[in-house]
């Protein structure tokens, strides 16, 4: 089997399992709706203040949902005792990484679509003109988050107190990505052109390349269990 087909097999397996159980997607989507409630209750009274922190909130929502979803991806493999099967994948193990990464990207894209829609509907964000730029930032940022999240998720599946350690490891590493996406979202929502945030885009591209390459190179070390 080629690399791509092996990766595809992993994605397909995950999508199929998810379509039958709907566990992760349902929980994560419901969680992001609840977050909207929490944001509104804690900050909602003051419209102006809300507007100024909105890019941060948007990403906070996506990030918290991602922490739940990404952390589960490998824990499921372990609970269902499928880890050995993953390990038996023929050839280069980084295909498993690519497959898992793609699955996690799908999940995050779904969450982002929902969160973005909810924000536009319930918090009066005018996405409109900023949308193309926003989607680019969203795509680059999501890849970075998912790349590290997939790598660390495979690791923390084997660790004590994994629910705790996963975010503790992931969040500080993702600081550059978070700063880049929040700052560029802020600028784009304020109506600035994409050129203003070009340095953040450069940073996101560099971060994505570094995270994905490190993931490809080190994943088989983690898959040993």
């Amino acid at each position: 089997m080629t690399f791509v087909r092996r990766a595809w097999a992993v994605v397909w397996k995950d999508v199929l399992a998810e379509r039958r159980s709907k566990e992760t997607v349902n929980a994560v989507l419901f969680f992001s709706v609840l977050l909207l409630f929490v944001f509104e209750f804690t900050l909602g009274a003051d419209r102006d203040r809300l507007a100024s922190v909105l890019p941060g909130l948007l990403w906070l929502g996506v990030l918290l949902a991602a922490l739940l979803g990404l952390g589960r991806s490998f824990v499921l493999e372990r609970e269902n005792e499928c880890w050995e099967a993953l390990l038996l994948t023929p050839g280069d193990k980084s295909a498993v990484y690519v497959g898992k990464l793609a699955g996690n990207l799908l999940l995050m894209a779904l969450v982002e679509a929902v969160v973005l829609t909810l924000f536009t509907l319930f918090m009066n964000v005018d996405v409109g003109r900023a949308l193309p730029g926003l989607l680019l930032v969203l795509a680059l940022g999501t890849l970075g988050i998912a790349a590290v999240g997939t790598l660390f998720g495979a690791m923390t599946a084997h660790v004590r107190a994994r629910e705790l350690l996963f975010p503790v490891l992931l969040l500080p590493v993702l600081v550059p990505v978070l700063l880049a996406i929040v700052k560029s979202t802020e600028a784009l929502l304020a109506g600035e052109p994409l050129g203003v945030v070009s340095h953040w885009l450069k940073l996101l591209v560099a971060a994505d390349v570094i995270y994905v390459v490190v993931g490809l190179l080190t994943f088989d070390v983690l898959l040993e269990g």
């Binding site: 590290v148 660790v159 490891l169 500080p172 590493v173 550059p176 953040w200």
Partner: protein, 215 residues
């Protein structure tokens, strides 16, 4: 051998203190409070060098699976965290009288804090893994990601905001600090570097003794 390194490091640190308090002049605008710089700035240089050792040790471990490489990375991470802690604490104490605040979310403070947390995560992974061999592999991955992340953290936080003097030496062109101050800084750097090397060597020896004891 480690013991002799310790003696030399002690001498280096003493020389640094002499330079910092007896040789270096009272700084012009800040006054004597600037003397904090002689421990503050070298501490962060030493810590970042230690994290470079973590990167190299981690790569070497994943490559060869030699326990020696893992012990080096482990020891360097622990010592680096200690030195970075010293840097953050002395920075806060320096910041209060000069900037008027213990902590500000300025670029260099924030980026150092983020790196600090990343390497605490490195140590936590080891602690939270039951099988030491597995812990070593996991920690190596965290060490590689964490160390490669340092430039990203640095620039992202730097762009985010900054209110810190640009680095005094990293800049090309003539050194901005006057010579006595520069010399004092250099001696303190060498002293702390020796101390760091001694700590890493001693921790390495202890890790080996621990592993031999349990084996």
């Amino acid at each position: 051998m480690t013991r002799w390194l310790g003696v030399v490091a002690m001498l280096g640190v003493l020389a640094g203190l002499v330079m910092a308090f007896l040789v270096a002049p009272r700084e012009m605008t800040q006054g004597n409070v600037q003397r904090i710089m002689y421990v503050h700035v070298p501490a962060v240089w030493v810590a970042y060098l230690a994290f470079l050792v973590v990167l190299l040790g981690s790569v070497a471990y994943l490559w060869s699976r030699a326990p020696a490489a893992d012990r080096t990375a482990h020891a360097a991470a622990e010592v680096g965290v200690v030195f970075l802690g010293v840097n953050i604490a002395t920075g806060a104490i320096w910041g209060k009288p000069t900037w008027g605040t213990w902590w500000t979310w300025d670029a260099r403070l924030t980026s150092v804090a983020v790196v600090f947390v990343i390497f605490i995560g490195y140590l936590l992974v080891r602690q939270m893994t039951d099988d030491p061999e597995r812990g070593a592999r996991f920690a190596a991955v965290v060490g590689i990601v964490g160390a490669l992340n340092i430039p990203l953290v640095h620039f992202s936080v730097y762009w985010w905001r900054t209110l810190h003097q640009p680095p005094t030496f990293a800049k090309p062109g003539p050194a901005a600090a006057s010579s006595a101050i520069g010399a004092a800084l250099l001696v303190n750097f060498v002293g702390l570097l020796l101390l760091c090397a001694y700590f890493i060597a001693k921790r390495y020896d202890l890790l080996r003794a621990q592993q031999e004891a349990t084996a």
